[in-house]
């Protein structure tokens, strides 16, 4: 049995997924699905995609043994180093794929939402490389807490639009990007940054991110001498987790763990809902209004989750836990000072979970692969404020 195969024809993973979009976008989703299927089956598309990831974006990324932290925790911890990719997070994998596809489909413009700014930077980067026009939607709260990335996007030539509705974070940036897409769908590709949105996005983005898991799996065989016992990744929309899990779900028995922020635990605390084009687990109130997430990490500050995670959770093939902001900040310091790797706040969630569960849910001596989805530079101003007094 396959745990992470393609979705059904209706774009569903079990009960989750689908295409819940305004009629204005329906044709675009169908066109995109056809375009992606065609491209993904085309060896020359794939080879261009792999070549750019390798010659430009720095793949493969290492699987780094975290020796000092492993000793401290009593488990064998390996970090899949997406922080070393060009632009500093796994988001580039997806964007290179989508930008290539947009170009192939004749779109001259690309729009995107962004939370932490990493997807926005990646999109602006790909737009520069391929000569596309780019507009990035970003919540006002996120613009303030990820100022480095705002500057990077603008320097790369993208237009950054501040979104001031609702929670002023990722959720509303998506709303705004979707609205813009409704208005410009014929010329514009909407480059969604995670395994969410209407079909084919959750599937397509997972496929563009599966390179993380495929590399990590084969590196595990080399470096660990076999599959790991646990595979851990943080979950916002869920793309780095889905890409990672895709390499392990059907190849071995490793326990797959997604780590959500306590203030945005859609799988852990949500219920099925429909928003942003998909049916998935969602934080919502008793009337079906979407709740605002609250996380120190802009990239995980989202009340929903990609539909495949809702499905993996329902089947039990993956497990989902959450950690709170304090534990995340501790984890940032811990990893920085034991391994010289400053994690982004997002993957620091995964580190925090491993640190707290080593010797508990994770038996001592276990082999753990953790996806270090991005580097922490973008979070300097936020972290500096929160960690003041704790540094030398």
């Amino acid at each position: 049995m396959s745990f992470m195969g393609p979705p059904s024809e209706a774009g569903r993973f079990g009960d989750f997924g689908g295409v819940y979009v305004p009629e204005s976008l329906f044709a675009a989703c169908s066109e995109l699905e056809a375009g992606f299927s065609d491209a993904w089956a085309d060896a020359s598309f794939r080879s261009t995609y792999y070549q750019i990831l390798s010659n430009y974006a720095g793949r493969p990324t290492p699987l780094t043994y975290a020796g000092r932290l492993s000793e401290k925790l009593g488990v064998e911890l390996y970090l899949k180093r997406e922080d070393l990719t060009h632009t500093g997070s796994h988001k580039i994998n997806n964007v290179v794929g989508q930008a290539l596809l947009a170009k192939r489909m004749g779109k001259g413009r690309i729009i995107a939402e962004t939370g932490a700014g990493q997807h926005g930077v990646a999109t602006a980067t790909a737009a520069a490389v391929f000569g596309l026009d780019a507009t990035i939607y970003m919540g006002e709260v996120d613009i303030q807490r990820q100022e480095l990335n705002v500057f990077r996007m603008r320097l790369l030539g993208a237009k950054v639009v501040a979104v001031s509705s609702g929670s002023k974070t990722l959720k509303d940036a998506i709303n705004e990007a979707m609205r813009e897409w409704v208005a410009s769908v014929e010329t514009t590709h909407y480059c969604i940054g995670s395994v969410m949105g209407p079909h084919p996005y959750p599937y397509m983005v997972r496929e563009f991110q599966r390179i993380i898991g495929e590399e990590a799996y084969s590196q595990s065989l080399d470096q660990l001498g076999g599959a790991p016992d646990f595979v851990v990744a943080c979950v916002g929309g869920g793309s780095n987790a889905a890409g990672t899990f895709a390499g392990f779900a059907d190849t071995c028995a490793a326990v797959l763990v997604g780590v959500e922020p306590a203030g945005g635990a859609a799988v852990g605390r949500g219920s099925p809902g429909v928003v942003h084009g998909m049916r998935s687990m969602l934080l919502q109130d008793e009337f079906g209004q979407v709740e605002e997430a609250h996380s120190v990490s802009a990239g995980l500050d989202y009340p929903g989750v990609g539909p495949e995670h809702s499905y993996l959770n329902s089947t039990g093939r993956a497990e989902y836990y959450s950690v709170d902001d304090d534990a995340v900040l501790d984890a940032v310091m811990l990893l920085s000072q034991t391994e010289g790797i400053i994690p982004a706040l997002e993957p620091a969630h995964a580190v925090a979970w491993v640190a707290s569960e080593a010797g508990k849910r994770i038996p001592l001596g276990s082999k753990v692969v953790l996806t270090m989805s991005g580097r922490g530079d973008k979070d300097a101003s936020v972290a500096a404020e929160l960690l003041v007094g704790r540094l030398r």
Binding site: G18, V19, E23, S24, L25, F26, R179, V182, V274, G288
Partner: protein
């Protein structure tokens, strides 16, 4: 409550009599007088009224209706309070609820259809529920005689448009312009194109919505279509404090414009 008034029957009959159809949109729960506004637009000549149940994440709506939704939510509007309000009065025109699918999904499709029925609502518009995902809802709605209005967009291919037109109930909602709800300076050329496309496919009333902002635009749009839906332009007046009187005046002006055709 508007017992017995079917959306489809009412509009088809009016169309048969050569009348151009006018369906204003108002946001349920916006202000304490929203039910008076509803009565006022009916008095001004609305053939039916679209009542929005506000949703936290209205991706088909522009700034005006976003703000109206937010204000209504902030003042405590819920599906129950809005439908309860509608149930309390009698209206001289059929009502259709417009909302996003999560409101329905969260309540449960069967339960939600029951609520509409109880409130005397005869139609529903769910802009983010495409026909492909609609099966379960449609059967529950049918059991309660709730008509589900489908939207057709300028980007909808012909074969799909035919299917949507065939399945749409009450009327066919033709999206006049690629974009979200909101006022526009002029009628988009796409509005007249889609009108012609759709009226040639069906005898059902075809109403143009999205971006109809002035009496002139309503008139122009009605040349090829059977009528118009007017939303943001009305809601902006409500946000600015126009109240039932303002709503009456504005819808009356539109009524006059389309009647002059």
């Amino acid at each position: 409550m508007s017992i017995g008034l079917s959306l489809g029957t009412t509009l088809a009959e009016a169309k048969m009599h050569g009348r151009k159809l006018l369906v204003p949109y108002i946001t349920g729960g916006l202000g304490t007088d929203w039910l008076d506004v509803l009565e006022a637009v009916i008095a001004a000549g609305a053939d039916a009224v679209e009542v929005g149940i506000p949703f936290s994440d209205p991706i088909m709506d522009g700034p005006i209706i976003q703000e109206a939704s937010q204000r209504a939510l902030d003042s405590g509007a819920t599906p129950a309070s809005i439908l309860g309000g509608l149930a309390e009065r009698s209206f001289g025109a059929p009502l259709a609820v417009m909302t996003y699918y999560n409101i329905v999904h969260h309540a449960g499709v069967e339960r939600f259809a029951g609520w509409l029925d109880t409130a005397g609502v005869s139609g529903v518009i769910l802009p983010d529920l495409p026909v492909e995902e609609m099966g379960e809802w449609k059967s529950c709605a049918a059991a309660r005689n709730i008509e589900t209005v489908l939207l057709v967009a300028p980007t909808t291919p012909d074969d799909r448009a035919q299917k949507l037109v065939d399945e749409s109930q009450g009327f066919v909602y033709a999206v006049g312009v690629m974009g979200v709800t909101g006022e526009r300076n002029a009628l988009a050329s796409s509005a007249r194109t889609i009108s012609r496309r759709l009226t040639s496919m069906t005898d059902k009333p075809v109403l143009i919505g999205i971006g109809i902002s002035t009496p002139e635009q309503a008139k122009e749009a009605s040349q090829d279509a059977d009528g118009v839906v007017v939303g943001s332009a009305l809601v902006r007046r409500l946000l600015e404090g126009g109240g039932p009187d303002g709503a009456f005046d504005f819808i009356s002006a539109i009524r006059r414009a389309v009647d002059a055709l």
